[in-house]
């Protein structure tokens, strides 16, 4: 009965001040909503291990991630094969390689699929049964075995219209023998991640008898009772063995510290390059949650200060301590419960939008891992409930503590007395400093991440993207085979190259096409750097040499991209010769390493292979960036070798057009059909869309950071003002006393501003220290732009300083403007 009275009383207090209630509930909803959203996102993408029906976590077994090329690196097949013997460590190990396969068999012609070249145990590993036919078997790997393919559900539905008699259909596979369809897998099965069809790995991969250059990725489950730490310890010893065995012979295979095998949770391995960003996001959101807690706790503390006489009366009437604490907690319970419910709705809505973003991001290439379907699950609910309880305790115990530690005798003796006790004053100072510290960390981090990702999205890649269409061209290996290591190899390569130039001439003859260019990866995409050696400037340690991105480029490709040759010459007929070793470098390389303007004629080679050929610099082009400017893979240095003597199987084209983009697309397809209708034309899109692609995920996370930044700024501004104003408010009588004793307005203002400045300095310095530490942690996987540092580390602290000083100045001025007699009798 008595509890129901307390509940009713708390509800009545909240309903009496609707704006206060709305504000606190909003803060709780935003803080909890962001936390729940981020946890659910990361829980799905990272925290919850990938597992199948047996519940055992799946691990990725591969070489250490290559941060300079943004690549997961595979292992030599024989090393994976050898590990399979250790059944006391690994329950099961399978192998795969991902690739693109074109499948025919219907009137529509070839269709492009993400194909998993896998070991046959992949299917038993997952315990997933086919819905039609069979999966792969050991015999499918044998040399001379019939070529087979297992279809994914989507391929079966879209290309074969869900035909139940599709099994045993022989379908043409571009570049290899026709294959027999032997099975169809159920809907949503795409293991290892994005597979749409499955083909068997070669026998050399799954059962290697000697060490040759066959590379595979691997997936594994640990044996019962073996921990991840134990397994890692084991593979470290195996890495050492491989190092001892081939370290001298194949030095590039092993890392500088002898690292070779790595064992990572399968989901984590898939997002290694974004791992730092996700963890940063989690930290920022957690700090926002604490900021929200302090804000709400402070608002409730201010309420208790307003109600301190009521509390004193309750104490005088003999309220038990537990009951008093509970009384103080009821308001928090109401606020956090309602806020928690709203947070649930907000997070669910955010996750739904995220799924839409994922779907649209990977619509073109179907490269969304099958587990990237985020939502609220039982774990999310548990986290929400725990967070609500924690928030109730934090926000409720601050005012409860105030209620328990007040000098109620003094309060009751003097109705006007509200002077701050020593402990309460210390608490208020701690609150102000905490608020400044947290605001600083959150705002600095959110700003740096936001500005960096914005800069990446709006970076000047050194190219002109206006009226530029891009596409991936892929020639058919059947039509244009290369007879390797024969006298025909050079001619075969030139035959491929001829196609590209035929198409270029055809397109440029059309009225609406100005220029056509080719590159292996166009500026703004791709990326990946390698160390190169300048003849005469070799460094003893490979890593001390400069590094650059290297692309194949076609002759006369620069205009189509808005690039220009600024020194030397373009590629020409001389570079098509098989023995030709010409290279064009960009302006930055020429400026930084050949300051006398004498780059032309100098020679460079790749640094990691001493036997690599020397290339002669024949020209210098304007600077461009490959890859996102936010990633390590992007480099200011670019080199281009001629694609003419390479006979590229696949190339990116950039087409500078006039008129509409739609017409340019049609022109491209018409021209390809005229020259060779079997040529694959994929991913046709504007240049702007192409550049956006690699940073779409970063851009999406940036938007979350933007929300975090706005929320943090709102919480920081309102929280700092509320805490500082509350602090001044509680010292109204003290101001009255000081004025009664003869202090001038200026002296009081200076006193309060000085105290605020000290708190500001402590909070800011601590906050900047923590932010710098966190940024340093993240900078191992991300590059932050200079402007982000300037805005984050200078502008944000200035903004916080202004907020604190204004938040102190205004309420202090208000109290100082009161007549001293009013301030002395302030309640």
């Amino acid at each position: 009965m008595s509890f129901s009275l307390d509940i009713k009383y708390a509800a009545r207090l909240l309903s009496k001040k609707p704006s206060f209630t709305a504000l606190t509930v909003s803060i709780v909803a935003i803080g909890l909503g962001l936390t729940l959203y981020t946890f659910s996102l990361l829980n799905n993408l990272l925290f919850t291990p990938l597992s199948f029906s047996d519940g055992k976590p799946v691990y990725a077994l591969e070489r250490p991630y290559d941060h300079t090329h943004l690549e997961r690196r595979d292992l030599m097949a024989i090393d994976v094969y050898n590990l399979q013997k250790f059944t006391d460590i690994f329950d099961e190990i399978g192998m795969y390689q991902m690739g693109i396969t074109f499948v025919g068999g219907t009137d529509e012609g070839l269709r492009k699929y993400n194909s998993g070249y896998v070991s046959d145990n992949l299917f038993s590993f997952t315990s997933v049964q086919p819905i039609l036919g069979r999966t792969l078997v050991e015999a499918d790997h044998f040399e001379g075995a019939e070529s087979v393919v297992v279809l994914g559900y989507k391929a079966w539905q879209t290309q074969f219209a869900g035909d139940p008699k599709v099994i045993d259909t022989i379908v043409p596979i571009d570049g290899s023998e026709p294959a027999r369809i032997v099975g169809v897998m159920p809907e949503n099965f795409a293991f290892p991640a994005v597979a749409e069809i499955w083909q068997p790995l070669s026998h050399r991969a799954v059962s290697p008898s000697e060490r040759d250059f066959v590379f595979v990725h691997a997936f594994a489950k640990l044996a019962n009772g073996v921990s991840l730490a134990q397994a890692r310890l084991f593979i470290d010893t195996k890495s050492k063995e491989v190092n001892d065995l081939v370290g001298d012979e194949i030095p590039w295979l092993i890392g500088p510290s002898g690292e070779y095998f790595t064992l990572e949770p399968f989901k984590k391995a898939y997002i290694t390059q974004y791992y730092g960003m996700f963890i940063a996001l989690l930290i920022v959101v957690f700090l926002i949650l604490i900021l929200a807690c302090i804000n709400v706790g402070n608002l409730l503390l201010a309420r208790v200060n307003e109600r301190i006489k009521e509390v004193a009366i309750r104490v005088a009437l003999g309220v038990p301590k537990k009951r008093l604490i509970l009384q103080m907690l009821w308001e928090s319970i109401f606020i956090c419960a309602i806020g928690g419910f709203l947070a649930f709705l907000l997070a669910g809505w955010g996750l739904e939008i995220t799924n839409q973003v994922f779907d649209s991001t990977y619509q073109v290439d179907n490269l969304k891992p099958f587990w990237w379907q985020v939502g609220l699950d039982v774990k999310s609910i548990i986290v929400l409930v725990v967070a609500i309880f924690a928030m109730i305790l934090i926000t409720g115990l601050i005012p409860a503590w105030r209620a328990l530690t007040g000098d109620f005798n003094a309060v009751l003796r003097d109705g006007t007395r509200g002077a701050l006790g020593k402990k309460a004053a210390k608490t208020t100072r701690v609150l102000v400093i905490s608020e400044i510290l947290l605001s600083c960390v959150v705002l600095v981090m959110a700003t740096i991440l936001l500005v960096s990702s914005y800069s990446a999205g709006n970076a000047d890649y050194g190219i002109d993207t206006e009226n530029r269409l891009t596409a991936q061209l892929q020639i058919s290996p059947s039509t244009y085979p290369i007879r390797f290591d024969t006298e025909f190899e050079a001619a075969d390569r030139l035959a491929r190259t001829k196609f590209y130039y035929d198409l270029k001439r055809e397109l440029e003859s059309r009225d609406n096409i100005l220029d056509v260019g080719y590159m292996s990866q166009l500026p703004g995409t791709g990326g990946g750097t390698s160390f190169f050696v300048i003849e005469g400037q070799e460094k003893e340690v490979i890593e001390e040499n400069p590094y650059s991105n290297n692309e194949g480029a076609g002759t006369d490709s620069w205009d189509a991209l808005g690039m220009k040759i600024i020194q030397g010459r373009d590629f020409d007929y001389r570079d098509a010769a098989p023995e030709a070793r010409s290279i064009i470098v960009n302006e930055s390389i020429a400026r930084d390493f050949f300051p006398n303007g004498d780059a032309i004629g100098k020679r460079v080679r790749r640094a990691n292979r001493p036997e690599a050929d020397w290339y002669t610099i024949v020209g210098v082009v304007t600077d461009t960036y490959h890859g996102s400017t936010m990633e390590f893979s992007s480099a200011a240095y670019n080199t281009y070798h001629s694609m003419d003597n390479a006979g590229m199987f696949r190339a990116m084209t950039a087409i500078h057009y006039t008129g509409s983009e739609a017409k340019a697309r049609q022109t491209l397809f018409d021209a390809v059909n005229k020259i060779d209708p079997d040529i694959g034309v994929f991913h046709v899109q504007s240049y702007d869309a192409l550049i956006e692609k690699p940073i779409l995920l970063i851009a999406a996370v940036s938007k979350i950071f933007l929300i975090c930044g706005v929320v943090a700024a709102f919480l920081a501004a309102s929280g700092i003002y509320a805490v500082a104003a509350n602090s001044v408010q509680q010292r109204t009588q003290e101001i009255g006393i000081r004025r009664a004793l003869g202090s001038t307005d200026g002296k009081i203002m200076r006193l309060f501003m000085n105290q605020a400045s000290w708190q500001l300095m402590i909070g800011l310095l601590s906050g900047l220290g923590i932010a710098a530490w966190l940024i340093n942690l993240m900078s191992s996987t991300m590059i932050f732009s200079e402007s982000s540092y300037i805005i984050g580390l200078i502008a944000m602290p200035i903004m916080i300083a202004l907020m604190v000083l204004i938040a102190t100045y205004l309420p202090t001025k208000k109290v100082v403007n009161m007549e001293p007699s009013d301030a002395l009798h302030h309640n």
Binding site: K422, A740, G746, D822
Partner: protein, 241 residues
């Protein structure tokens, strides 16, 4: 500001104080005329809400009147700016409040020193000497390093009196100085005020307590914002104009 004995220290003429709350006018003080001489010990009595504390606030320059004139030691105290009023409060007036109004974060010595720190003409040594003298006078020097929360109510009020006299003001204004004290402590505080008066201090005290009022030389009674009685309890010169 210096004065001679029997010189008029405070001269209020036609003082009015009106509070405006929403559209309601409340006349807290109405046509108050009052003169206080140097060395007088005056009590102001009256029922709750009669305006006696408001009168004390006006005397102490803690509040401003709606109309009328106020001269303190022959100087106009009405048209002063805020800083000038603060300077006069600091040098000429010592306050003793019912609720002591000590700053809880400061030690006893720091509280007593506080008004002296607002003066630029005192060195640290001079301030410390004045603090010591004031604490000796109220017999609280042994508690100099304690915090207010460590003292009894009577001790806190003694510290407040030390703070009031530390700057050697022209007048001490006491608002119900015994209101929060038991009879023993109240007796002790009143004895202290008697001693200060005997040493030449001018004291103006608002009180409910007839016994305390009886210890003053002159007793003024306020009712509904007006002085209704002004009596000398020791046949010393007193003027109710």
């Amino acid at each position: 500001m210096t004065t001679n004995n029997n010189e008029i220290l405070v001269n209020l003429k036609d003082i009015k104080k009106v509070f405006f709350t929403d559209d309601v006018e409340t006349h807290a003080l109405n046509e108050i005329n009052l003169q206080l001489r140097k060395g007088e010990f005056i009590s102001i009595t009256g029922p709750s809400g009669c305006g006696k504390s408001t009168l004390l606030s006006l005397l102490g320059l803690l509040d401003t009147s709606t109309s009328g004139t106020y001269e303190l030691a022959g100087h106009n105290a009405i048209d002063l700016d805020r800083d000038e009023r603060a300077r006069i409060r600091n040098k000429e007036i010592g306050f003793v409040f019912q609720a002591f109004n000590l700053i809880s974060d400061m030690t006893v010595a720091e509280n007593v020193e506080l008004p002296l720190t607002y003066r630029s003409d005192l060195s640290k040594e001079e301030r410390q000497q004045m603090v010591q003298e004031a604490l000796n006078k109220v017999d609280m020097s042994h508690r100099a390093n304690h915090y207010p929360s460590q003292l009894s109510g009577g001790q806190q009020q003694r510290v407040a009196i030390a703070r009031a006299i530390s700057g050697k003001p022209s007048i001490i204004l006491a608002d119900e100085p015994t209101g929060n004290l038991d009879s023993k402590n109240a007796q002790s505080v009143m004895s202290l005020l008697d001693e200060l008066h005997a040493d030449g201090a001018t004291i103006c005290m608002v009180t409910h307590d007839p016994k305390s009022a009886a210890r003053a030389q002159r007793s003024i009674e306020v009712f509904d914002g007006k002085i209704v009685s002004d009596q000398s309890t020791e046949q010393t010169p007193a003027l109710a104009l």
